[in-house]
Chain length 171, copies 2
Amino acid sequence: MNDAAVLPLDAETKVIERPSDHKDELRLWLRLFSCKMLIENEIRRRLRDNFEITLPRFDLMAQLDKTPAGMKLGELSQRLMVSNGNITGLVDRLVEQGLLDRQPAPNDRRAQLVKLTAEGRRSFRAMAASHEAWIAEIFGDLTASEREVLMRLLGKAKDAARAAITDSGKG
Amino acid sequence: MNDAAVLPLDAETKVIERPSDHKDELRLWLRLFSCKMLIENEIRRRLRDNFEITLPRFDLMAQLDKTPAGMKLGELSQRLMVSNGNITGLVDRLVEQGLLDRQPAPNDRRAQLVKLTAEGRRSFRAMAASHEAWIAEIFGDLTASEREVLMRLLGKAKDAARAAITDSGKG
DNA sequence: CCTATAAAGTTCAGGCTTAAAGCAACGGGT
DNA sequence: ACCCGTTGCTTTAAGCCTGAACTTTATAGG
């Protein structure tokens, strides 16, 4: 997933002469992947070193911080794009840490509403400030307009991906 | 990590009036993340449904397919950007499946060389063809020049991230 | 040769993640 | 009221992943 792994095209994997291969799309995907991996690993390390928290827990708290009214577990699962059962365990651990609060949802005895506790919110806000600065630092070498273009193209890629997914009958 | 979670800026999280916050970098990161997640989940599903293989195993085999001479475990760990111990287990399972082959490295009794077996190579090549087509399908809505720009900007982001990481004394 | 340091892998505990199966509650149709 | 498909969540088994401690081998300096 590293450039060094992709760029040195040897004789076997030469791209040029083939009429309709798709090596460049593949390279784009690999670069997207490695870019994400690089940043994520660093953020994970800093969250651990500075706040002794894992990235998944931080991400979950970030979602909750945006919705003070609380969220249902299934909603969290959609936002974080992970499986149902994953959220159950993650919330369990955060509740045990005293950062989250589960309560029955009104009008639906199946569902639960999850919120940040006061401590959870305080704790998250402190971390979020640093986190935001780290991200800004990492993307600092890009100009505002480059960031804008990147944002737009990633949006387009995302839409295209979603279209490809529903076409293939994921539902 | 979904746009729906990011775009609806309510009163609390308004961006405009603040002079030097970094919400746009954050949104860029979130979009990169969700874009990767969307594609990865779909690829994982297709690999599973069509070939009964996991994404990490496929990725590892992809690295080995590029270097017929074989790779050391540490090299794999760097390329895939995952930890050492992770590779050990992944290789164990692939060897057990008969897709990989471990052998002692020449001139260094600590190291091992890992290669695809004949079956592993055959198996990978079959999967790789489909995989490449899927990626092309997913990125199909982007024009060649859009892909080129995206590639360049992601490269720049990657370099910037690497710089930020080594600056902070990761060594 | 001897020692110190570094490097390559492994092991371990703990946590993250998925897919699949299961349970309870909802809601529409009859 | 009853059935039935759906939804919200939990549970389980298996696999993925990390960080840290550890073993073995290599390498450099005396």
